[in-house]
Amino acid sequence: MKYKALATGMLCCLLSGISMAEVMVVAHAKSNISAVDQATLKKLFLGKTAKINGSKVRAVNLPDSNALKIEFDTKVVGKDPSKMKAYWANRIFTGKGKPLDQVSSEENMVVWLAENKDGIGYLSADSISSKLKVLLTIP
């Protein structure tokens, strides 16, 4: 019975992505931005815009292999890791755009965002720091 529940739980996880955590979209606590919608986020993380309501922002990413990044890309951008990689390879190598800034871990995301007032990134709920503010919570 216990194993069955465990197996069902694992299957759920497998079917619905790697983790089930909420994704918090965050910025510097003193950022000009107070909120952001999913459509704008999608444009930001596809490199199609660098502005929210007219204010310049810099989107920062976690590494491709990071589970939270995969979840963010799937939920917000709507692309699986292969498609996301192909999309960015096309942009980067054909003169269409520059790659986004990237940090190696959620801890470094906190550090980077605390240093860059125009930054915008994403974290899991456990990594939220008082130096940051949450712009959007994606269930």
């Binding site: 491709d64 996301m84 990689k85 390879a89 190598f93 054909t94 003169g95 520059k98």
Partner: protein
């Protein structure tokens, strides 16, 4: 002054010089392909033959992007590529400075790849498409023997909620060499310019473009010095002399009786020609003479009277690409029309359908290259390609391909002084690169070829 306040002041003092100092941005990305190709022909097809070759689809690229100041929208981009097919010599198809004037409008100045067809700019980035390389009938150097230019492009992009549009204009110049008749004919592109317009959604792209290429080339000098040119002229000359001699003998021999010249009759008898055959032989010889004359003239038009000078080529293309959750569909048609220099016009196109099954994508392509009114080369061929892409990682894929190539029929000329003549028929050499020099006129050209390929492609 409280401790808190002074701490804050200190922090501010520390932070100020940091933000006053211009932050630079430097990024390195790259891509690599390792491939093996095998062709069931002893002649070299593109870059491979029956011994197989790593050269055709093995290459490595490294891209550096440097922004001296993140607050100024100017960056310098260099992409260095080393290819097996070029003996791993480093070359730069991209080396430009980019100025993002507004969020929608970018100006790139320097060396940039030509946006001549839908995925020309992404030609080297294997993870962005299903095949090992985009179909050679349209993207290969036989159709477009130059891929980059030095000049500028203007790029306008606008994103709406669900859709986007892109308009691009470019202008520049370059050097090139066109492989013809087994030799590389050097040339200079004095000016090229073009525009493309595309629009689409997240998964769909529709595109049309037109480009003009003005070039100059010393074709006659290059081609008339080839041994084949000299041999063919000599052959045609010898055939004409034989026919003329035979006709003179037949005329002298009269009707074969004592009315005619006895010596001539004797010589003809020695050649096995008896008086009863004189009439038919005469008709045949006149035909032979005409044929040799036409061949001679044709060769002359080929090799001697080929103009040195300026030509102009126009490229028109229209394409669409749909990359959905499971279906991949892409089709493109292009026309090349050349004026001033004797390169054939071409009509090319392909259609690809792929179906994504988790990490696998089997795909099928039908692709055509048709030469029109050829004088120097006829490269008509069609290909059927069955392929499989397997995504090992989001950033790496393994690809397999089997290709069946059918070379086209003889190209009967439809215009010019030799229109309709059999002698002017030029057998297709397809996209074989060295055959034209060897086998065009002996007719010993394969009419079908099988090509097998495997490749690993990745980005980093």
């Amino acid at each position: 002054m409280s401790i808190k306040k002074s701490l804050a002041a200190g922090a501010l003092a520390l932070a100020l010089p940091m933000s006053a100092m211009a932050a630079t941005d430097f990024k390195i990305n790259g891509f690599a392909n390792a491939g093996f190709a095998w062709v069931d022909s002893s002649e070299t097809y593109l870059f491979s033959d029956k011994d197989g070759s790593f050269n055709e689809s093995s290459f490595m690229g490294l891209q550096m992007r440097f922004a001296p100041n993140v607050d100024v929208p100017i960056s310098f981009v260099t992409q260095l590529i080393a290819r097996g097919r070029d003996d791993w010599n480093l070359e730069a198809d991209w080396a430009y400075v980019s100025w993002q004037a507004t969020e929608d409008f970018t100006v790139n100045v320097g060396r940039v790849k030509l946006p001549i067809f839908l995925i020309s700019e992404a030609y080297d980035v294997g993870v962005t498409y299903p095949w090992i390389a985009p179909p050679e009938e349209i993207y290969g150097f036989a159709n477009i023997p130059f891929t980059a230019m030095t000049g500028f492009n203007l790029d306008y992009n606008h994103f709406f909620d669900e859709t986007w549009i892109n308009a691009k204009f470019y202008m520049g110049r370059d050097n090139m060499s066109i492989p013809t008749m087994g030799t590389d004919i050097p040339g200079e592109i004095t000016r090229m310019y073009g525009a493309s317009f595309s629009f689409g959604t997240e998964s769909l792209e529709l595109r049309a473009s037109v480009s003009t290429v003005e070039f100059s080339m010393q074709i006659s000098d290059a081609v008339s010095s080839l041994p084949i040119a000299q041999n063919l002229q000599a052959e045609a000359g010898a055939a004409m002399m034989t026919a003329t001699g035979l006709l003179a003998l037949l005329n002298a021999a009269g009707d074969g009786t004592s009315n005619g010249n006895a010596d001539a009759q004797e010589t003809l008898a020695a050649l096995g020609i008896v008086p009863g055959d004189y009439g038919t032989k005469q008709t045949e010889t006149i035909e032979d003479l005409k044929k040799s004359y036409i061949e001679g003239q044709f060769n002359q038009s080929l090799f001697a009277a080929v103009p040195n000078g300026n030509g102009e080529a126009e490229f028109y293309s229209a394409g669409m690409r749909y990359d959905g959750d499971s279906i991949f569909f892409m089709t493109e048609v292009a026309r090349r029309s050349v004026r001033g220099l004797p390169f054939p016009d071409s009509n090319t196109g392909f259609v690809t359908l792929g179906y994504r099954l988790n990490k696998m994508m089997p795909h099928f392509t039908y692709s055509v290259h048709e030469s029109e009114d050829s004088i120097l080369v006829n490269q008509t061929q069609t290909s059927a390609i069955l392929g499989l892409r397997y995504d090992i990682q989001p950033w790496a894929a393994l690809k397999f391909e089997a290709q069946y190539i059918e070379l086209g029929d003889d190209n009967i000329r439809t215009s010019g002084p030799l229109a309709g003549t059999d002698q002017a028929a030029l057998p297709s050499t397809g996209l074989f690169n060295e055959l034209p020099a060897l086998d065009t006129f002996t007719g010993d050209v394969p009419d079908e070829v099988i090509k097998l390929q495997v490749a690993y492609t990745m980005v980093f």
